[in-house]
Subunit: 120 residues, 2 copies
Amino acid sequence: MDLVYEALVSEGGFVSAQDLYRKLKDRGENIGLATVYRSLQSLSESGSVVIARGDDSETIYSACEDGTHHHHLRCKRCGASVKIDSEEAERWTASVAREYGYVEVSHTFDIVGICPKCQT
Amino acid sequence: MDLVYEALVSEGGFVSAQDLYRKLKDRGENIGLATVYRSLQSLSESGSVVIARGDDSETIYSACEDGTHHHHLRCKRCGASVKIDSEEAERWTASVAREYGYVEVSHTFDIVGICPKCQT
DNA sequence: TTGATATTGATAACCATTATCATATTTAAT
DNA sequence: ATTAAATATGATAATGGTTATCAATATCAA
Ligand SMILES: [Mn+2]
Ligand SMILES: [Mn+2]
Ligand SMILES: [Zn+2]
Ligand SMILES: [Zn+2]
């Protein structure tokens, strides 16, 4: 668990469970894939890891200490992400939900692009 | 292809390929699961079907003739969805992308709640 | 020390999706 | 209408990320 969290923190951005597992193994750690999944799962439940869905069918994870509601702008090349303020978008979703009479409305924003460093 | 499209239209909202397949079989149609996937795939490429990712790991599809960029507010109970105007959110994402120097930025909004009909 | 409890790693199972392939259907040319 | 090539279809196997299982190991409290 601590090992997985460390590795994820040092990763800096979003990474898949499989990739994280490979990197840990390559580093010589004795760890199982199931443990990586389990750790990421409980870390996300405890709020220190955020989850997103990459372009493909892999779930990707990133360490994020901030427990308050926010979103990320993520690089599709390297996985780097920046926390972004979303007040404006929050108000928009709330007003849309009200307009159509939907309740218990939640949302997921997946915003991806190419970060400054990855631009040739 | 036409059969799949019809079924999806009559469905009204979002539904998974597996569910659509089951409903077609229950209706007595002679169709294969692969054909359902293939049809939904090409329909989405031709722009008459939109794709989203449900809470679980299933991809869900909905007939949507509107080829312009827009988003949906979807009911997590019955799959019903309403097309929503997102100009405000579009401007927000564009400004965020500019602020952090990200280019080629695209986004996916998944906004789900409980529709008026499904509220007890 | 000892016994109960929780964690771990290896591996099998799961399941949505895709690839394969033989058959059936459509299309175009003769 | 015949025939041959091209395309679409359904059945089924394969893929791959994720989860379940389980025996072994570590942790903890008497
Ligand atoms: Mn938000
Ligand atoms: Mn948009
Ligand atoms: Zn980058
Ligand atoms: Zn509903």
